[in-house]
């Protein structure tokens, strides 16, 4: 039951993109077509889980006992950057098509605040996450669910954008990026309903 609550909270109620406004850069940048949006979502999810897998034990078993929690951001960013480097190499080798379609946004996962956000949230106040106490399993699940939330948001966005860019007849001043911002704000409003649960 706790896991279900965690899932609902992470995916819908506290959706990273449209409720907490983290990770907007790839959300707007890679949402032009659905296939690369899906690739981006999966890549972010993988980085989130991997990053939490490293940062959570690093924080609880090394940084807290030795008393330098204040260095968390530098350490976390460092870990995330290194992981993205590895992921980039792996993608280049095995899925070159996805590597090419993600382009500059792949290295930008390094500084994606959604990834850092997960790493920070799982070590912070757990009461907001709907569970009694945090452990590595929950942390990983939360990272996975947050990634799924990101994936859902970016997929919805890319689907809407594809339709709007192709079929909608709109004034020149709104074409392209401005209408994407409008779509994103409407999505955020729609997701706001979930916070009332």
């Amino acid at each position: 039951m706790e896991i279900f609550t965690l899932f609902i909270l992470a995916v819908f109620v506290n959706n990273f993109v449209v409720v907490q406004f983290l990770g907007i850069c790839p959300f707007l940048g890679v949402s032009k077509d659905t296939s690369s949006a899906f690739g981006m979502g999966v890549a972010v999810t993988v980085v989130m889980v991997l990053a939490t897998l490293v940062t959570y034990p690093l924080y609880t078993f090394v940084m807290v006992p030795l008393g330098f929690e204040f260095m968390e951001i530098i350490f976390f960013i460092f870990v995330i950057a290194a992981l993205v480097q590895m992921l980039e190499q792996i993608l280049k080798k095995f899925i070159p098509a996805l590597y090419n379609s993600l382009g500059i946004y792949l290295p930008l996962i390094t500084t994606n605040c959604a990834v850092l956000g997960v790493a920070e949230l799982v070590i912070g106040d757990v009461s907001a996450l709907g569970i009694a106490s945090m452990n590595l399993g929950y942390a990983l699940l939360y990272a996975l669910f947050s990634g799924i939330g990101f994936l859902i948001a970016i997929l919805l966005m890319s689907g809407l954008r594809e339709k709007v860019d192709r079929y909608a007849d709109m004034p020149k001043a709104l074409k392209g990026f401005p209408i994407s911002m409008v779509i994103a704000s409407f999505m955020a409003m729609a997701f706001y309903v979930f916070t009332l649960i």
């Binding site: 330098f68 350490f75 280049k92």
Partner: protein, 278 residues
């Protein structure tokens, strides 16, 4: 010195033990990740196009996007496939372009170092169609009835070029942009961004340039702007070298013939040909 340190609270109370500990753990972590990355790079090594790598090393490397591609790597790949023109990159030295051409087995004509220039001097001197109240960006301005200026090819003064210039070489003052020649790398980002296509490239050695882009003639042009070219052709008639031709009511300067005598600057009744001060 001591007072300054005291003021800044630097040098006091540094817990050197914690400092060393953090540094040590950080370095250890760095070492572990380095090993991992090395292993993964080794395992996932793929045969990259050697030509593309060579070209990439010769390109500007600032990922300015002036060539129209998303970055230097994309442009290098395009070149290696035999498409595109190495002269599209203006951020790298001429020798590098020659080297790239040699790798590709192509002959290129290099006109030497260039610099960007704004072919408009209107700004506040150009008449307004309407008062624009909105987002300042030129792209938004031109989206609304082609911009607030009466002149169809006048600088809108929104500073889009200024905002996108990677080397901070463009300044928009009094409603018109101008290029700082000392900072400009001639990458071409502004040329792609300007919705009115007012920015062009001229050789760095050029002494004069045309500071107007509108194709109207005579009275029509006079009504648009105080400094518009009226297409009278005095510059073309008086140029001793025959370097100026009139195309679409605008002078076009052939910089191969131009010797920098500046006769055109003196003859122009509208001051649309400007001299470059060094």
């Amino acid at each position: 010195m001591t007072t300054i340190l005291n003021l800044l609270a630097v040098g006091r109370d540094i817990q050197w033990q914690v400092f060393g500990l953090v540094l040590g753990i950080f370095l250890a972590l760095a070492l572990i990740f380095t090993v991992f990355i090395l292993i993964i790079t080794k395992v996932c090594h793929i045969q990259e196009d050697e030509k593309a790598v060579k070209i990439l090393n010769l390109l500007g490397g600032s990922n300015c996007g002036g060539c129209g591609q998303s970055g230097c790597a994309a442009f290098a790949k395009k070149l290696a496939e035999g498409k595109g023109d190495p002269t599209a990159c203006h951020s790298c030295p001429a020798e590098n372009r020659a080297e790239i051409a040699k790798i590709l087995g192509k002959q290129i004509e290099d006109e030497g170092p260039t610099v960007a220039v704004v072919h408009c001097a209107g700004g506040d001197k150009a008449a307004n169609k309407f008062e624009y109240n909105g987002y300042a960006d030129c792209t938004s301005r031109s989206g609304l009835l082609g911009g607030q200026k009466l002149c169809p090819s006048g600088c809108l003064g929104g500073g889009t070029c200024e905002a996108h210039c990677p080397s901070f070489a463009i300044h928009t003052k009094n409603g018109v942009s101008s290029v700082d020649r000392d900072l400009c790398t001639s990458c071409g980002v502004c040329m792609n961004k300007c919705p009115k296509h007012l920015i062009g490239r001229i050789p760095r050695s050029a002494k004069v340039y045309v500071a107007c882009s509108n194709n109207c003639r005579g009275k029509e042009a006079k009504d648009l702007c105080e400094v518009s070219c009226i297409g009278c052709g005095l510059c073309a008639k008086n140029c001793p070298e025959g370097a100026i031709t009139m195309v679409n009511n605008l002078p076009v300067i052939d910089y191969k013939k131009c010797v920098g005598c500046k006769v055109c600057v003196q003859k122009c009744p509208r001051h649309s040909i400007k001299e470059i001060e060094d």
